[in-house]
């Protein structure tokens, strides 16, 4: 039962509960007109303590498409934070006005702390470099739609695996499904943190390999999840220059890829996927953004208990 629950961490829900959300999201995608009045009279509070246009618009679109309404702010300068109000008071007040809240905050753990004072469902829309559970739901739904199931897949995660919170969450989430193999493609400097390997992959005996070159594993992948290699993460510029082009995905690099590969990216893209790839049917990253809205619609419905 998801009614009344908070979503702070992508592991808060069981695989079965996630399946309920994905099933509803797919029903909405199939016949959205059946759901346009589901949240009539309901109000979503959008508390964005730092700007995140994409995520905020996704949530707002989701609620509006369900017939609900939205109130909130998109940066702290337009909230009582500037008057020195603490988070607990802000959340208690907004919870009194609304039926469900989504929060983006620069501080890690802010949604978890807020949830202690929140008597309506609270959705974490990203807290610093810590968690972004609805991005993980988006990634999982996209994989499910593309592949029919979230199992028996080889997923390549490419780019900044050290600081990429979406990568960490996705590895944690996918490690709960059967027969998943990870290929971790990154420069030495940006390898996935040790705790992910020791506490998730090794502990669950999940197969994984670490490589530096995308080309050498391209033909093995069912999913390629691209992230941006960030110049500012490197200790010296020579290493960045040596590696940056390795991770610019283009048509040439895709020549050895499977026909049924899907390419994902949490967006925004900078230059790690060449625009020529956009026309390739294997490019799923813009569909992925759309699925993000549908999965948020399903999540809102489940947490409100209207479906």
């Amino acid at each position: 039962m998801l009614k009344g629950r908070h979503l702070i961490d992508s592991q808060d829900f069981t695989v079965e509960e996630l399946d309920q959300i994905f099933e509803l999201a797919e029903n909405i995608m199939e016949k959205p007109e059946d759901f346009i009045h589901l949240c009539d009279g309901k109000l979503l509070g959008t508390l964005f303590f730092e700007p995140s246009t994409r995520t905020r618009l996704s949530f707002e679109s989701a609620m509006l498409r369900l017939g609900g309404k939205i109130v909130g702010f998109s940066e702290p300068s337009s909230s009582s934070v500037t008057k020195g109000e603490n988070l607990a008071d802000t959340i208690r007040t907004v919870a009194a006005y609304t039926d469900i809240i989504t929060m983006r905050h620069p501080k890690e753990g802010a949604p978890k702390y807020s949830s202690l004072y929140c008597d309506v469902p609270l959705i974490n829309a990203g807290d610093g470099g810590h968690q972004h559970p609805t991005q993980t739901l988006t990634d999982l739904l996209t994989i499910k739609v593309a592949k029919g199931e979230i199992a028996n897949l080889t997923i390549g995660l490419c780019g900044d695996l050290k600081f990429g919170r979406t990568v960490h969450s996705l590895v944690k989430a996918m490690s709960r499904y059967a027969n998943i193999k990870f290929i971790l493609i990154s420069p030495q400097e940006l390898q996935i943190p040790e705790y992910i390997k020791s506490e998730i992959l090794d502990k669950k005996s999940i197969e994984y390999v670490e490589v530096e070159r995308l080309e050498e594993v391209m033909d093995q992948l069912d999913i390629l999840y691209m992230t941006r290699v960030q110049k500012e993460r490197f200790f010296n510029e020579a290493d960045y220059i040596r590696l940056k082009d390795s991770y610019i995905l283009n048509n040439d690099k895709l020549k050895s890829a499977k026909e049924e590969l899907i390419i994902l990216h949490p967006l925004p893209r900078v230059n790690e996927i060449s625009m020529e790839v956009d026309n390739d049917p294997r490019a799923w990253y813009f569909k992925q953004a759309k699925y993000g809205m549908f999965v948020r619609m399903a999540l809102i419905c489940k947490l409100l208990g209207v479906k």
Binding site: L87, K107, G109, D127, G128
Partner: protein, 142 residues
Amino acid sequence: MLNINSITKGIVIDHIKPGYGIKIFEYLKLNKADFTVALIMNAVSEKLGRKDIIKIENEIDIDLTMLGFMDANITINVIENEVITEKINLSLPDRVEGIIECKNPRCVTSSERGIVHRFKLIDENKGRYKCEYCNQIYSWEG
């Protein structure tokens, strides 16, 4: 050899890891006590080789959770009429609240007023704790 029956009524905190006695002494604010206290450092121990001991000639409330967090091998001997009436063996607490602070500058605890720092035990063997807000990993290092 140390003799615990020098205490008439009080407690002896025994089997403290060498070097940790002073930290516990300070944590319990025993330097400000108006009753008899003793800190013995580097005493000979059959079990540990060396150990610290704190003797307190008074009835005081001790936060066993915190002591367990600082050194789970500690033994507390409760003394009445110069004899040990109770031995308490400590263990690592499952949760630690308001005792240590999360040092992650990006953690919500670094900015919110009045927030209680909370940690959960995640690895008993290594004494590792996790901040319940930001998941930063900690162990007691004094």
